[in-house]
Subunit: 333 residues, 2 copies
Amino acid sequence: MATLKDVAALAGVSVKTVSNVVNGYAFVKPENRRRVEEALVTTGYRPNLGARNLRRGRTGFVALVLPELVVPYFAELAGLVLGAAQEHEWNVLIEQTLGTREGERDTLASLGPHMIDGAIVSPEALQARDFGELAPGIPVVMLGEHSVDLPMDHVGIDNVEAARAAVAHLVGLGRTRIAAIGAHPHRGTAAQRLEGYRLALTEAGLPVRDELVATALNYHRRDGAEAMTRLLAAAEPPDAVFCFNDLLAVGAVRAAVERGLRVPADVAVVGFDNTEEGAYSLPSLTTVAPDKAAIARAAVDLLRRRVEDPERPPEHVRTPFSLEVRESTRGDA
Amino acid sequence: MATLKDVAALAGVSVKTVSNVVNGYAFVKPENRRRVEEALVTTGYRPNLGARNLRRGRTGFVALVLPELVVPYFAELAGLVLGAAQEHEWNVLIEQTLGTREGERDTLASLGPHMIDGAIVSPEALQARDFGELAPGIPVVMLGEHSVDLPMDHVGIDNVEAARAAVAHLVGLGRTRIAAIGAHPHRGTAAQRLEGYRLALTEAGLPVRDELVATALNYHRRDGAEAMTRLLAAAEPPDAVFCFNDLLAVGAVRAAVERGLRVPADVAVVGFDNTEEGAYSLPSLTTVAPDKAAIARAAVDLLRRRVEDPERPPEHVRTPFSLEVRESTRGDA
DNA sequence: CATCGTTGATACAACGTTGTAAAGCGGTCG
DNA sequence: CGACCGCTTTACAACGTTGTATCAACGATG
């Protein structure tokens, strides 16, 4: 591997002059610049980023900390963050926490204060406030969970509003026994979506029944199917279900169909996340569609600004969402 | 951020002694060791990996280069590679090439010979042999494409055999007009799966008809739907389809259903990759199931061995696969 | 008692890069 | 003609870590 020293020797100049050429320093005699550039090519020089970063104090790496890549929402988001980071010449280190508190702690602890310039974190089990302690001094942007009182940068949609819109849509279809799947004891976003659900019901003059709220400890397809099965076993089963993510919805649809029900005729289903999978499933899923590209862009941008100025006041960015109405709530499925 | 120097000052020993304690060097007086360990805790010392790696020549990073994370197969695989790498104390840097030749070139070039100890690459557009030129000296393990003549480590299933098994299954159901979706001018795996398809047909005494082989330039759901639509528009439409991945299969199923056909009664569908999505779709997908965990483990393991001994002869690891039979080819959907 | 090996600690250099300070050069101005 | 300025280049130190060499103290061995 060629180093600056090798290039300098070949071009007959000092190491620093080569460094200057590489970094675009203005005052280099054209003759020398030419010679150096030639030497750069013939040696195939590539800067040693480790050394450069040691000197500069920046590493050029950001961590993206998320629960699991098998969840399409996170996979899609990760892809977009990768793209957005690339534009800022950042490399992205993806860490999976598997949603456990330990996983999230270990990840942040082992990441260390050195190898990354900052982190974009999608917390699940871990309380947001833990991050300040675990990763002191590391610029962190939070995704998803919305806790205005915390002094951290944050990007996300208005979960209460989004859930409300989704349930209002079901109300508009004339459904009266509307269930929710995805309640969770510790997840902030779950609490918010549940609140939106309750709000929408109350506004429509419908009762909020506890037996129509199903808990899901994970947000996988299996959990959606299990929750739906429980709901359908009740004396008065729901005629509509609002699921807190698309995977739960896919599982719920499958469970309903396996019991011989028609979607949406017998039970309408709404998901959340607008994953591609939901657009092609049978029936295709009506879903809350957050602007994932906007989230990715905002997160990377926020992180960049935070790295540049650690003292700036924390910012909360609300990204837009829309409701994508498809077959799972439309008549013509 | 505390450095070795700070810890040394606090403990009243030299920097090197602290380094020795940190690295588990045996001969340190118990008294000093105690003092150092205490100082390590109170300062909250974390090693600067950049500096350590600069010195050691290893970085502790591996790159995972793949087309796109929105493709569930790659997302699932990435998750497994992350886990396997963690066991070897490697951090994983995920790079998306978007399947373009430029993307793959740029990625490898920019990764540089310095920041990573090695790379696990799932090539798509790029020819395998280009890698030797682009990333000279970087240990690389290839995934998926199987080209025995290349002197590189490689992990993958036997694509010809797998495709043959899938098509043989359709033959066994009594289907006679079996189509294939996913032919591709440049992809090695596509060629192999096509070969397996042809083999199975020939073995069954069925003709191989060109009009039943549909090309797909990408392997997304949309491409599967489009290809299926083309196939169904023919004078004699197929009664079964073998798709080269699950996404194509999902799209194909959707297109068939939209035209009023029943799956599998009118047309049976087989996918490839055994993504979770296919297990929950309606109907659930019969699919070729590669052992993804085995692939991930083998790839990381191969890379570790290659890093340790760059001179060892290249190895080709065949991982097992099975055929997961589900509703899309079974009667009871 | 000289020699040796073991245990324990340290100084120094080096990894490859870049910021700082400074110096060499030529020209212009007072 | 000396001072000063702008351009160009360089030597040096430093980022934080670890390998090598060295040194000191000590007990055991010949």
